[in-house]
Amino acid sequence: MRKGRVWKYGDDVNTDVIFPGKYTYTPMEPPEMAQHALEDLDPEFAKKVKLGDVIVAGKNFGCGSSREQAASCLKFAGIQAVIAKSFARIFFRNAINQGLPVIQCQEAVDSLGMGDEVTIDFSQGKISGKAGEFKFPRLPDSVLGIVEAGGLIEYTKQKITSRES
C-alpha cells in the first residue's frame, strides 16, 4: 500500500491526449514515453507526477485508439492505478496486460478531487483518503491471473513453460 496524490480529470479522456499519435510508431524507451504521458490533456502532468500517484477520471477512460502506450506510459510515469467511472474496452485490456491496475468506482470518482492523498488496498478492494473509504469489486477471475503474473507477457511465458514441461 502506498500513498499517492490524485490527478483528477473528466469524462472520455481519449488515447490521443494520453499518448499522441505522432509518437506511436517510433521505437521509444520507457523514460521517454513517461515524458509524453497526458501531453495533450495536461502538459503539467509529466513534469510533476510522482511515483505512486493515482489518476481519477469520469466515464469511458481510454477511448479511441488501441495504442498500448496509453496504458504503459502512465505506468512508466509512476501511476499506481487509474480509478474511473468506466473504461473503454481496449484500454481496459491493455492496462491489465501491462500490469497497470484499473479500478471502476463511481463513488470514489465523485468524491475525490485534484491533489487529494489516497491509499489503495488491492487485497481488501478499498480506496481510503480524507474524503472517506470506497470499496471496489475485485477483477473477474479470467483476468486476475494476468494481473497476478505481472502482465500478459509474464502470464503467457508461464503458460508456455508449463505446457512444455
Binding site: G21, T24, Y25, T26, D40, C63, S66, K157
Partner: protein
C-alpha cells in the same frame, strides 16, 4: 431462446468468457513493436504464420529516419518468420486492403492491433481491436480470451434524403447515443436501410462502430457481399446469422429519410450537430480520405461537387484514396483529374495526416474538416488545432467556400 451473431461465433452466451483462436490477426506499422514483445516470450517461431496479415499504412512512405527504421525492422521480421501475407507501403490503408485481399470473410473471427478492426463486420465477420501485447501473445500461442458481448441492434429504415450519406447516419447515431454507448458491446446494423447499403457504405458504419466503444459492428452478409468475395476469399467460409428470437440488450431505430448532413465538432466524435448549426465556420484544411471515407464512391461524390470549380484560396485540400486499387479506379474514371484541376493535392494511399504523423499536420490555431473517424484534440497536429468530421460531400462543398458548407447547395 435464440442466439445473436456474436454468441454464435464465440460459442457461448453473452457475459461468459471464452478462449478462442482467430482466423486472421492484423497488424500494421506497429508490427515492429509487437515483434519486440514477441521476443520477450522466448518463443522462436510464430505458431501459425499464415494467420498473420501485416499491412504498412500509417506512415508511408517513411517520412523520417525513425519511421524508416521501424519499417525496416518489420520487413526483416516478416522475412525471418516466413510471413506470406505482407503488404508493403504501396498497397494502402490496412482496413481497405484487408478486405480487398479477401481476408475479411463472413463468419470468421478477426482480431487486429488497431481499434478500427471493427470494419470487417461490414462483410459479416466478427472483428475486434486488441492491444499490441495481446497480438504478440497470439502470435506465440494462437489463443486469447474474449468476453462474449451483449448486443445492441440498430435498425435503419427509409432511404437517404438528398445530400446525406452513410457518414451522416453514423455521426447522427454516435451523436444521439454517445461515444461510450456500446462500450464492451456488439452492434448489429439491421433493417431495410442496412440491407440496401453498398459495401462502401457498410464499411463506414462498421468502421465507426469503434467510436461507439463497440467490440464489433456486424451486417448480415447478403448476395452483394458474396459477389464481392467471389474469386477473392482467402478461405472457405460459412456466413453466420443471428437467430430471429435472439435476445438483444437494446434496439434503436434510425430513419434515413429525416436525416440532414451531420458534423462532429471538436474535440469528441459524439459532439455532433446538424449542418445548419455549424455552417460558416472558417476552415484551413480539408482531408478527403482515410479508412472511413477514402473509397472510390467517396472520391466520386467529392469530384461531382468539385468538377469545373476551384477550391477556395484560403483552404488546402488533401485527397488520399484508401488503397492503390481505389486510386487506380479513381484515376481511370477521371476523378483524380477533376480533383487535381480543382486544386486538390492528391497523396499516395495510406493513413496520411489522420493520426498526426505526416502529410498535412495542423499548426496552432488551424481548423480542419476531415472525412476521418476521430477528432480528438491534437490528433492531426497542434494541441491548439481543431477538427470537424463530416461526409465527403460536406468536405467538398466546404473546400469550395473555405467554410463549413451544406453540400445540398451544390447538388
Amino acid at each position: 431462446m435464440g442466439a445473436t451473431f456474436s454468441e454464435k461465433i464465440l460459442g457461448k452466451k453473452a457475459g461468459e468468457v471464452v478462449t478462442v483462436s482467430p482466423d486472421f490477426i492484423l497488424s500494421h506499422d506497429n508490427s515492429a513493436a509487437i515483434s519486440q514483445e514477441f521476443a520477450k516470450l522466448g518463443v522462436e517461431k510464430i505458431k501459425n504464420p499464415d494467420k498473420l496479415v501485416i499491412i504498412l499504412d500509417h506512415v508511408v512512405p517513411a517520412s523520417a529516419e525513425k519511421y524508416a527504421l521501424n519499417h525496416k525492422l518489420i520487413r526483416e521480421f516478416v522475412s525471418q518468420q516466413g510471413i506470406s501475407n505482407f503488404f508493403d507501403i504501396h498497397h494502402g490503408i490496412c482496413h481497405q486492403v484487408f478486405h480487398e485481399a479477401g481476408f475479411a470473410l463472413p463468419g470468421k473471427l478477426i482480431l487486429g492491433a488497431d481499434s478500427h478492426t471493427t470494419s470487417y463486420g461490414a462483410l459479416g465477420a466478427f472483428s475486434a481491436g486488441i492491444g499490441r501485447t495481446e497480438v504478440a501473445c497470439l502470435w506465440a500461442t494462437d489463443e486469447i480470451w474474449l468476453r462474449v458481448p451483449e448486443t445492441f441492434r440498430i435498425e435503419i429504415q427509409g432511404g437517404y434524403a438528398a445530400g446525406t450519406f452513410a457518414k451522416d447516419l453514423i455521426l447522427r447515431i454516435i451523436g444521439d447515443l454517445g461515444a461510450d454507448c456500446a462500450n464492451y458491446l456488439a452492434v448489429e446494423f439491421t433493417g431495410a436501410g442496412a440491407q440496401n447499403m453498398s459495401l462502401a457504405e457498410r464499411l463506414v458504419l462498421s468502421n465507426m462502430a469503434a467510436e461507439m466503444g463497440a467490440k464489433n459492428g456486424y451486417f448480415e452478409p447478403n448476395q452483394m457481399v458474396l459477389d464481392y468475395l467471389e474469386g477473392r476469399a482467402q478461405l472457405e467460409f460459412e456466413p453466420i446469422f443471428s437467430d430471429p428470437d435472439a435476445v438483444y440488450e437494446r434496439t434503436f431505430t434510425f430513419d434515413l429519410s429525416d436525416l440532414e448532413p451531420q458534423v462532429a465538432c471538436p474535440h469528441t466524435v459524439d459532439n455532433v450537430k446538424p449542418i445548419h448549426e455549424v455552417a460558416g465556420i472558417p476552415i484551413h484544411q480539408v482531408l478527403i480520405g482515410t479508412c472511413t471515407n477514402g473509397r472510390f464512391e467517396d472520391l466520386e461524390v467529392a469530384a461531382g461537387i468539385l468538377k469545373n470549380r476551384k477550391i477556395h484560396p484560403s483552404v488546402r485540400v488533401l485527397v488520399i484514396p484508401a488503397s492503390r486499387q481505389e486510386y487506380l479506379r479513381a484515376l481511370k474514371a477521371g476523378l483524380l483529374e477533376v480533383l487535381s484541376e480543382a486544386g486538390c493535392v492528391i497523396l499516395n494511399p495510406g493513413c496520411g495526416p489522420c493520426l498526426g504523423a505526416h502529410q498535412g499536420i495542423l499548426a496552432p490555431g488551424e481548423t480542419a474538416l476531415s472525412t476521418a473517424n476521430r477528432n480528438f484534440r491534437g490528433r492531426m497536429g497542434s494541441r491548439e488545432s481543431a477538427i470537424y468530421l463530416a461526409s465527403p460531400a460536406t468536405a467538398a462543398a466546404s473546400a469550395l467556400t473555405g467554410k463549413i458548407m451544406d453540400p445540398r447547395e451544390y447538388l
